[in-house]
Every structure is written in structure tokens, then in C-alpha cells.
Symmetry: C2
Subunit: 359 residues, 2 copies
């Protein structure tokens, strides 16, 4: 099971130093330089955004899978079907980040030609943060959307008690003019499972609205919740969202779903066969991009300038905190929990990779 960290001790690491370190680790795990760079871009920029759950803390498990060849280090994704504004891609069991970038680039090209591009992916692996892919079309004045099936079943259907569904995330990124882009990246549970894992580790009770015990009843016991299921946002609504995302991300391309989903952290003999979707909408098919982006800016101002409830200093729009964090941490270095760094050191020692930090 995925690890979670108590952020007591921290270390600030220069962005480029961390990036090169991660590239070195992936190359030492059998990946080509260009693919290792794709993975490092994805993981380190996601850390810089403050989304540590999908950053380099995943490196140890990714490396373990690469060394076991349960994820293939040099495989390349390929287009199986190409039809109009759509494509079906198999990842050929390459790293999810490599597959995702390839698939989103195909969707971008489709959108340039047809105004909208839609790509469905199977045979991939855990691809990191959905936002990373959704943001790729922004520089082209296009809207990006990406979804994926989660790597572990941790949600019950509404009314059920067992782990049948992933907490399947999706991301949407919309370009703005002078403001940061709007970037929504969300899974369908009230809180990330990581918070339950943390509460269990620190033996704290959890709010009754977070999770269910294995019998399906709400619980404040983190141990019960850990063995149970996460609560979907809006109850049956979040259940519907995660299920529909699973159908589109996994059943449409013919990837793993439900009983054939294998846990990233627990199953090391079977390829994950993760499914994703990538969609791109070209703004200029509908409106002058500058005008659209100005209207997005105006909508941001409209919300940020609206009355706040007591105790709130600032109204935020989706992705704003992450964009601020990324800007700052790319310049000043990324602050990591020391446990994450220690794990990278262990991995590096095993691979004979030079360690660029002192802890």
C-alpha cells in the first residue's frame, strides 16, 4: 500500500537538481533518456505544484515495477486506430507518463485539425496527476481534459460496502489571459485516501463524513476506514462520477476495470493495463482566443472579488494555489518531506545513481 509521510522534517531541493536526479534514476532503471525526462518533468513539476501525492514519492514503486519489467522501460505507445478526430492508443505497457504525453500530443494534433480531439488509451500504467496532461494544450490556446482509472479499488457503489471502484480522477485545464489558467484536478472522494492512511498512522480519529467501515457504515475509526471504502462526494453523485469516468477511461479503450484492476503497490506480476482518455478543444473554433481568455480572466476577477465568509482571506479559483506554488518552487527549490528524499536515496544506492543532496 502507498506510503504517506508526516511532514515534520523538510528539505528544499533545487528544481533542476531534483529533475536531473529523477532522470538519472529512471535511466538507471532501463529507460531511455527522452522518456526519463518526460517522467521527471511530470513528477517534479507536480511536486512543485504542491501535489506531492503524485510526484517523486511515486519513484520507488515505479522503479520497482520497471526493474521487474512489469512496467516496460523502453516500450513505446502506438496508435492502433486513427479515425477522424479520434485515436485509440495502446501504451504497450510503457510508463503511464510516457503514454499520457504521447496520447495528449495526438489529441492536440487532432484538435488543431478538427477543432476537437479525443484519444482513448489502454495498456498504460499509473500516469500521475491528470492535471499534467490537461495542461499540455494550454499554450496552444486549447482546453485540455484528461481522466484515468485509479490504480486501486477503494470505493463502493452507493449502498454497497465493498471496494469495487477506483477513485477515478480527471483534470480540466482552461487557458486564461493574465491570470493563471483554471485547472481542476479531482478524484471523486470527500478526502484523499492518504488522509485516512495518515490518521491511521498517527492514531487519530477521522470525521464521520470521510469514509465507511468494511460493513458500509460511516466510521470515525481510521483503522476501520483504512480497511473500508472512501466516501464519494455528494454520495451517489460521486459514485456516478467515478463509475462514468471508469467506463470512459477503461471500458471504451478495453483497459482493466473492476475485478481486473491491480494495485500499483501490491501486485508486481501483472501489467496494470490502465486506461485513460485525453480530450482537447480548440478555442478558436468557437471564439477569438484572446477574447475567450479575457472572459476567463473577468470570471476569475468576478469570483475573487465577491464577498467572503468570516475568516476567509481570499477566494481561490481551481488551480490557483498550485500555480502559485509551482512558480515559487521552480524558482526557489521544491520543499520535500525528508522521508521522500530518504527513499530516493535508497533507490539511488540500489541503482548506483549519484545522490545530489545531503540529509
Amino acid at each position: 500500500m502507498e506510503q504517506h509521510y508526516v511532514f515534520n522534517e523538510k528539505l528544499r531541493v533545487d528544481y533542476n537538481i531534483m529533475h536531473k536526479w529523477v532522470v538519472d534514476i529512471f535511466q538507471a532503471s532501463g529507460m531511455d533518456s527522452s522518456d526519463a525526462i518526460i517522467c521527471a518533468d511530470n513528477l517534479v513539476s507536480t511536486d512543485a505544484r504542491g501535489v506531492y501525492s503524485h510526484g517523486v514519492m511515486r519513484v520507488p514503486v515505479y522503479v520497482k515495477r520497471l526493474l521487474l519489467k512489469v512496467t516496460h522501460p523502453t516500450a513505446q505507445p502506438e496508435v492502433i486506430r486513427d479515425s477522424g478526430a479520434t485515436a485509440l492508443i495502446t501504451g504497450n505497457n510503457a510508463m503511464g507518463q510516457v503514454v499520457g504525453v504521447h496520447a495528449m500530443n495526438v489529441a492536440i494534433e487532432k484538435a488543431k485539425q478538427y477543432g476537437v480531439g479525443y484519444v482513448s488509451v489502454r495498456g498504460s500504467n499509473h500516469y500521475g496527476a491528470s492535471a499534467h496532461f490537461a495542461m499540455m494544450p494550454l499554450s496552444e490556446d486549447m482546453i485540455g481534459i484528461s481522466g484515468t482509472i485509479g490504480g486501486t479499488n477503494i470505493m463502493a457503489p452507493w449502498g454497497g460496502s465493498s471496494r469495487m471502484l477506483g477513485n477515478n480522477p480527471f483534470g480540466v485545464a482552461i487557458p486564461a489571459l493574465n491570470r493563471y489558467p483554471i485547472v481542476l484536478d479531482m478524484a471523486q472522494s470527500v478526502v484523499a485516501r492518504g488522509k485516512i492512511v495518515m490518521a491511521r498512522k498517527t492514531k487519530q480519529p477521522i470525521p464521520k463524513t470521510w469514509a465507511f467501515a468494511p460493513d458500509g457504515s460511516p466510521t470515525t475509526d481510521a483503522e476501520e476506514a483504512y480497511n473500508g471504502t472512501v466516501r464519494p462526494i455528494g454520495d451517489y453523485k460521486g459514485y456516478g462520477l467515478t463509475y462514468v469516468n471508469a467506463i470512459i477511461s477503461a471500458l471504451l479503450p478495453g483497459a482493466a476495470f473492476g475485478p481486473t484492476v491491480t494495485d500499483l503497490y501490491e501486485e508486481f506480476s501483472t501489467a496494470q493495463d490502465v486506461g485513460h482518455f485525453m480530450q482537447v478543444i480548440k478555442v478558436s473554433s468557437f471564439m477569438d482566443p484572446a477574447q475567450f481568455k479575457k472572459s476567463v480572466d473577468d470570471s476569475i476577477d468576478y469570483l475573487k472579488n465577491s464577498p467572503r465568509k468570516e475568516g476567509v482571506d481570499e477566494i481561490l479559483v481551481p488551480g490557483e494555489l498550485e500555480a502559485r506554488s509551482e512558480k515559487q518552487q521552480r524558482e526557489q527549490g521544491v520543499v520535500y518531506p525528508i522521508e521522500v528524499i530518504r527513499e530516493l536515496i535508497d533507490v539511488s544506492n540500489n541503482l548506483g545513481v549519484t545522490i545530489p543532496v545531503n540529509v
Copy 2:
């Protein structure tokens, strides 16, 4: 403000009788027969699905708008831009149902040609249930998605206290083989505002998780909630969903958003300029449709056969209850609250339309 009904007295009305009645009312309000039929199809089938909030109870306000010409009875939507797999449509201030059906038909044709179709709409009106449009491509073995901006601002940005955003709904419909299709149609609040209106009417307290008072604090007082805002699902997540849906549904086509949104029930001098989006994905671009639909059936069985928590008789999938209701009520007649029927009678008396029921 929208009315809500205490379902004490009910009347079962034959589906076709109600349909003809609604057609007669819209024709008497100035609409052509074909457009009146489109509206009746939309509203009566939605009632049959048990989604009364988006059925014929909307007829009185629609008729009021048509008679005032603030919605234009005979206007026709038109394609302004047609580019590859996309189109931009203006509703020309026609009825939202008429605009929506036209737009979804364009998206279906685009998807037939390009594998995916994406249509953005402005200049429309309240279009009823998103599910109605999302379901249109099902018979072609295609997935339908539709979203729209809500007719009233009733949600605050997270951390805010004022009504800045609509509770913007979207619908997704996915074909199945022998099972009912998966149909998810959801707004982004924990509960529909109608439930708060009802609690206020019956002077009942509401759960603290439903809504906020005008100062942004959670409240159990229905009167305060009525004057405040609805709580988004997953707090900041539902806020993100409704905002992103607004950008895609309204800003992209250049429709009303935020300060320019006018209330369906309170503003009778300005056209609503509602925006929608319609998207269609052709299953056969990715997989044999029969195989895909079988995999959807299998996923439904997998969920429905999973362990249930105590007190739950059956696990449902999105759209299942509505599809059962529609099948039954199309055959046996649609059960209406008597208040809805009384309002249709009032409207009919004003228009000189023959009333086909006795109450």
C-alpha cells in the same frame, strides 16, 4: 422563484394525453407544431422518468415567457461556425429544448463523420434536463454528454458567501446491451434547491450539510438557506465543477455568465442567453459497439451483485431508477402532483386550450 409541490394529491395521466395537451399549450403560445412536439417530448418523457423538477411543471413559466416574447416562439437555432468536428450555434432565443435538440443532432452528425462531435451553444434558454440531450445519441451506439449553465445563481465560490454561480448541471449517457443505459445527470449541489424551498414551505429544519446562510455559515434554518446559497458536493470540488462547467457551457460560446445570468422566474424583459455544450463520442471509433455494450452490462452486473450495506435492498447504477420509471409510466400513465395539473389547467384556460383531464 420556481415553485415546489407537496405531493399529497396525485393524478395519473395517460402519457399520450399529457403529450398532446402540452403540444396544444405550446402551439397556443405561438409555437409551430414541430417545435411544440420537441418540447412536449422533452418535458413529458422527463416526467415519466420521475424527474418532475424538469418536466411539465415548467410549462407555466415557459408559456409566460413565450407570450411576452422574451423567449421567441418561432425562432430557429442556426449554425454560426462550422469547423471540422465542431460547430458554434446560436439559439436565436428559441426555446431551449428546441435549440438543444438541434445542437445535439449537429453533434451526432459530426460524431458520425469524425468519431467525436463537439457543439457549443449560445442564445438559448432553459433547456430542461441535461439527460434528455445526452441520451439522444444512444440509439446510434454513441456516448452523449451535455452541460448547461443554470438559470439562476445560487452557489457561492468556496470561501465566499454570495450567489455568484449557477448550480450548473451536466448529463452523460452511455449505451448498454441488455441493461438500461448508464445515465448520470447531476447538478453540483449536495441537494437540489427545491428541497430547501420545500422545507421552507413546510417550516422544517434542514440538515446542516445542505446549505449556507447569507453570511456563508452552515445553517439548519430553511429560511436562511433559502436566502443563502446551496452547498457544493465535496465543498471546493463541487465549486470547481460548477465553475468549469460554466466556462465551457457559457464563456466558450459567449453566452451569459455570472452577472449577466437572468432568473428564469424573475426576469421577464431580457432574453436569457443560456449556453450549453453537446458532445458525442462514437463507440465504433474505439471498439466494436456490441463488445463495448456487453462490457457495460458486465460492469453493471459487477456493481449490482456486490455486497450491500445493511438495510439496502438493491444497488442501483446511474439512470436505472429513471429508466424503470419511464418504462412503467409510459405504459401506465404518468403520476402528477395535482398542483402541477391545476397550473396546466390555469394556463390552458388563459390560452383557450381544451383540458383533457378532470380534477
